[in-house]
Symmetry: C2
Subunit: 214 residues, 2 copies
């Protein structure tokens, strides 16, 4: 597991008007604070797994003492430019994966293939491990999981799909908050509790409810 030491983990992050699909349950300030809470959990878990996190942002951005990298281009262009300058293995880690555990990250870093892919639901890609960043490029949006497999195959690279519920669960919609309340014990969960968002059970279905506050 010596691989896990000092692997650069780049986290694309959008600080302004994030998580718009949560607009039904959070106002813009809350969505921003929630995105920061998730980023905090992701950064903590990556550090605990022995990675060196770095935040990729379209605007200048400071978060704790984590280095940041500013690139105003779209996600794919910015990430591919970043990869082209790296000569050691890189993780690309989405910032809305607060369920991630150090064990899950270590399992990904233990992949012996050239590329490790953690699918998201709906054909997405939540995390990529890229052993030789200059020999690969990314193509997010749409069925990016299928695209990332194809890019690896076209380049003659071996890939491995890493099977992790915690890394496959990105928090985009109201229903996803259920997962955070059940499976996360750190900052993101605390943020929800502090804001009166708790689990509800109606007709055998688990959902969330928000108690009035202020």
């Amino acid at each position: 597991m010596s691989e896990s030491q000092n692997v650069n983990a780049v986290i694309p992050f959008r600080p302004v008007n994030p998580k718009t699909r949560l607009s039904g349950v959070m106002n813009p300030e809350e969505r921003e604070a929630f995105a920061y809470a998730m980023l905090g959990d992701v950064v903590d878990m990556l550090l605990e797994a022995g990675c060196s996190p770095c935040i990729l942002c379209t605007v200048p951005f400071e978060y704790r003492d984590i280095p940041s990298h500013v690139d105003s281009r779209d996600l794919n262009e910015a990430l591919n430019a970043y990869l082209s300058h790296q000569d050691t293995p890189v993780l690309i880690f989405m910032s809305d994966l607060p369920l991630v555990t150090p064990d899950a990250v270590k399992r990904l870093l233990a992949v012996t293939a050239d590329i490790g892919i953690v699918p998201g639901r709906g054909g997405g890609t939540n995390v990529l491990f890229i052993r030789n960043p200059q020999g690969y490029h990314v193509d997010y949006y749409g069925a990016s999981f299928c695209d990332h497999v194809r890019i690896a195959e076209d380049a003659g690279l071996r890939y491995e799909v890493v099977d992790s519920f915690f890394m496959s669960t990105d928090i985009d919609e109201k229903e996803d908050l259920v997962e955070t309340l059940i499976h996360r014990r750190e900052g993101t969960r605390q943020f929800l509790k502090d804001n009166g968002i708790t689990l509800s059970l109606k007709q055998g279905r688990v959902g969330i409810q928000r108690s009035p506050h202020e």
Copy 2:
């Protein structure tokens, strides 16, 4: 991994009017055939992982040469009666998990705790590994993941949450078919293809479409 040899894996199965939430895309006969296709994938993967599958059904039922166990009571009563007669470790494996891989099952069987729990989305429990079946009982429905954790804690048992996207993904709704088309290569996926159900991409979102047939 010698544990994995001959662990009894009980699969609750409902052959009549299954998967009602897929009614929008499949007629009753198709839903039945689809449920069998998923069961087939689950059985194959459990056999490949070295388990001995057994089907728990409310009505007499034959499937290949897999032993079945008939109990007309509700799921919890039937499973708890079953557990009370077992004196070796048991897996309780839901039948609608066609993404499962032998590796995922082996990872669950390698748990050293008394109980291994694979969460489903929304607070559910998709798979349970129970080392001593007579010292545990199940409580499905609702937030069963939380209930199964609590039952373990109340009994002084150690539990481990097993992190697997493939086992956490139960196929209940139309959107879930996307996962089957992307990640599964066996019977369930073939069933969908044979019935003209394929991936679609609209405005960057992956969904399914069904081509007219007959």
